[in-house]
């Protein structure tokens, strides 16, 4: 698998290949000798040239990951080849479809149909297990469709809204 990872300005190309139990890694085409341990949910331990990096992570949305290790935090944008198609689709139509990232109940809408929205702006709030999550707009544009109303129960992947 090949990923393009953007942290700040810099973009790195990571190539992951499984051999048996382990991964082999190439960074921008150069082999990267890394000892990888998935130590627990949300935690990856990496040993690179003897240095220990333990990353806590959480994926905020389909294409970005929050990472923290040794007192530093960052948000990495991930471009995943297996999402190329979907992404191209965005580019062709210029229309971003928002699907429910989790099953739950729509507790409130944060933007009105036709509203101009910023990339990252919250469009609605989904609640499950008494935990609320904001569903944010993947791009700046206009909220051209709203497929759900406040109070509606939605299933994972169900279309919520479209931004154009």
């Amino acid at each position: 698998m090949i990923y393009e990872i953007q942290i700040g300005e810099a973009v790195r190309k990571l190539e992951l290949t499984r051999d048996g139990d382990a991964w082999s890694v190439a960074l921008d085409g150069q082999p990267l000798p890394a000892d990888i341990a998935l130590v627990a949910p949300g935690t990856i331990s990496l040993l690179l040239a003897g240095r220990s990096f333990t990353f806590a992570y959480a994926s905020a949305d389909p294409s970005s990951v929050w990472l923290a290790a040794a007192g530093h935090e960052t948000r990495a944008e991930v471009r995943d080849p297996r999402r190329r198609l979907a992404q191209r689709h965005f580019h062709l139509t210029g229309r971003a479809r928002l699907n429910a990232p989790m099953a739950g109940k729509v507790v409130r809408l944060l933007a009105e149909l036709g509203a101009t929205v910023e990339a990252g702006q919250g469009l609605l709030v989904l609640e499950a297990m008494k935990m609320q999550n904001e569903v944010r707009s993947p791009k700046s544009g206009t909220l051209v469709s709203l497929a759900v109303a406040a109070g509606a129960a939605v299933a994972t992947g169900q279309l919520l809204a479209e931004v154009e």
């Binding site: 990096f53 990495a76 297990m129």
Partner: protein
């Protein structure tokens, strides 16, 4: 201490970290604790940890935590004998303290009378003046009109500070540089004060530039004995609210410290004060100190004093409320070492510390020597939008200030908090600042820091960046289809494990 519990059951009229800290004190004294909660807090940590929990009402504080009738009704239903108000909400509301007394409940705090005498800034200034405690030149009474404000400002000279008469926490507070700025500042301060405290009155005083904010912790019993428990340096503030407090204060002469302690006790005695309280002072570059106000309640930053003195202020408040005498005299108080606190908040330092609630997707707090944490959150908790953004207080103790700072740096490095914006990174920056490390702080410290670019030494090195990129790739590889952090991080790995095992 005597082992007989001073009360059988106490209702905790608060939420968040302070409610948790209070019920822990109850448990240590073998007193049953009753939590109260709004609809936004049904799943809150204080509800989970208390022995009993009763609903107050809807999320808005006015219909729950600030509603005296509902709180008293909950106390009645639970059979509690006493109420601890914590800080904020009803803690400095003399009417509430009186209502508790009328309802036959013990209010764990000072008497309504001394709250009234010290709670209003203008009343407190009059009292201080009467007892020859230095105050800043300005109005002793609330100013009635803009015209009057202009006149006074001209007399004492700009810059001046506008302050709400009824409360603190920076609300209704405005620094006014010139006469031209006064009208809008006067209007805004009054409006803020009205919104925050239901009372628009503001007063006006000379502004000290780059002042230090240093406060004295006092503690008295109902039999007239009163002590002071050292000072706290609280100059590191944003939006006029403290984010770092420490004790002892760096760069403060023993003589000044003693004089401030004596002044604080004088003001408290004049008001017949008992329970815990805090007398706040401004200290200028020449170590002249000016009386600011009295917080007639337990202070957010009380753990700093607890770590240095070895005392448990909440347990003592409870015993004092039950009529027990102070178990020690001024001479018995022996401070040890240095303590410092960081207020961890759900806010965005890059956007002027705007509160930014969200779900705690990831929480692994630090541990080990010299650390204490008073937290109100847990992994999976969604921080409500309705209340203060304070999540937790992290406190480090050391034999001396350098050791305390080093331990806090270590704790800030270990702390894993994900899913919402917070100020941990900003604290790391403050604790790397040479002026801060040398104890050279004033109320302008935060603004000056934000004006500079972050030092390169704080930026992660290239190897860290490479590792982060690899971690991001691995997380994604294992996380298809992606889901929001809070609920699904673990499931990534199950799916990963399956795919891996099946390859």
């Amino acid at each position: 201490m005597p082992s007989r519990p001073p009360f059988r059951k106490i209702l905790i009229a608060n939420r968040g970290e302070i409610a948790v800290r209070l019920l822990r004190a109850c448990r240590d004294l073998e007193i049953a604790s009753v939590a109260v909660y709004s609809d936004a807090d049904r799943a809150a940590l204080h509800v989970q940890l208390a022995d009993e929990a009763l609903r107050l009402g809807p999320a808005p504080a006015a219909e729950s935590y600030l509603d005296i009738a509902r709180v008293l009704d909950a106390a009645r239903r639970s059979g509690a004998q006493a109420i601890h108000p914590g800080y904020g909400f009803l803690a400095e509301n003399a009417a509430f303290a009186a209502a508790c007394r009328d309802a036959g409940l013990v209010f764990i705090g000072p008497s309504p009378e001394s709250m009234a005498a010290l709670g209003s800034k203008t009343a407190a200034r009059r009292l201080a003046q009467a007892h020859h405690i230095p105050i800043l030149e300005g109005t002793v009474d609330a100013v009635s009109s803009l015209a009057q404000a202009q006149a006074i400002a001209q007399r004492i000279g700009f810059p001046v500070m506008l302050k709400a008469a009824a409360g603190g926490g920076g609300k209704g507070m405005r620094l006014v540089a010139s006469a031209a700025d006064l009208p809008s500042a006067f209007a805004l301060a009054g409006a803020e004060a009205a919104a925050a405290f239901g009372d628009p009155s503001v007063f006006l005083e000379r502004a000290v530039l780059q002042p230090r904010h240093i406060e004295i912790q006092i503690l008295g019993d109902r039999h007239g004995s009163l002590v002071w428990l050292g000072e706290r340096e609280c100059s590191v503030q944003r939006r006029h609210q403290k984010i770092i407090e420490e004790s002892p204060a760096p760069r403060l002469s023993p003589a000044t410290r003693a004089a401030m302690g004596a002044a604080a006790c004088a003001a408290a005695r004049a008001a017949g004060y008992y329970s815990a309280g805090t007398v706040e002072f401004l200290v200028d570059a020449d170590e002249r100190f000016f009386f600011l106000e009295v917080n007639t309640r337990l202070q957010v930053e009380h753990p700093v004093t607890e770590l240095v003195t070895g005392l448990d202020l909440v347990q003592l408040q409870i015993r004092i409320a039950a009529g027990e005498p102070l178990p020690f005299a001024q001479a018995d108080i022996v401070p040890r070492g240095h303590a410092i606190e960081c207020r961890i908040c759900a806010e965005d330092p890059e956007q002027d510390f705007m509160p930014s609630p969200g779900t705690v997707a990831r929480l692994v707090p630090p541990a080990g020597p010299g650390l204490r944490e008073d937290s109100g959150i847990y992994q999976g908790w969604t921080v409500p939008l309705e209340y203060d953004p304070l999540l937790s207080k992290l406190i480090a103790w050391g034999e001396d200030r350098p050791q305390a700072l080093a331990r806090m740096r270590r704790a800030l490095r270990e702390y894993q908090l994900g899913g919402l914006r917070h100020n941990l990174g900003f604290f790391r920056r403050i604790f790397a600042d040479p002026d801060f490390c040398a104890g050279r702080t004033d109320t302008g410290t935060v603004a000056r820091l934000l004006a500079q670019p972050p030092p390169p030494s704080l930026a992660p090195d290239p190897a860290w960046q490479d590792a982060a990129a690899l971690a991001a790739a691995l997380a994604t590889a294992a996380a298809l289809p992606p889901q929001p952090a809070a609920a699904s991080t673990p499931s990534h790995w199950q799916r990963a494990a399956r795919t891996e095992a099946l390859r």
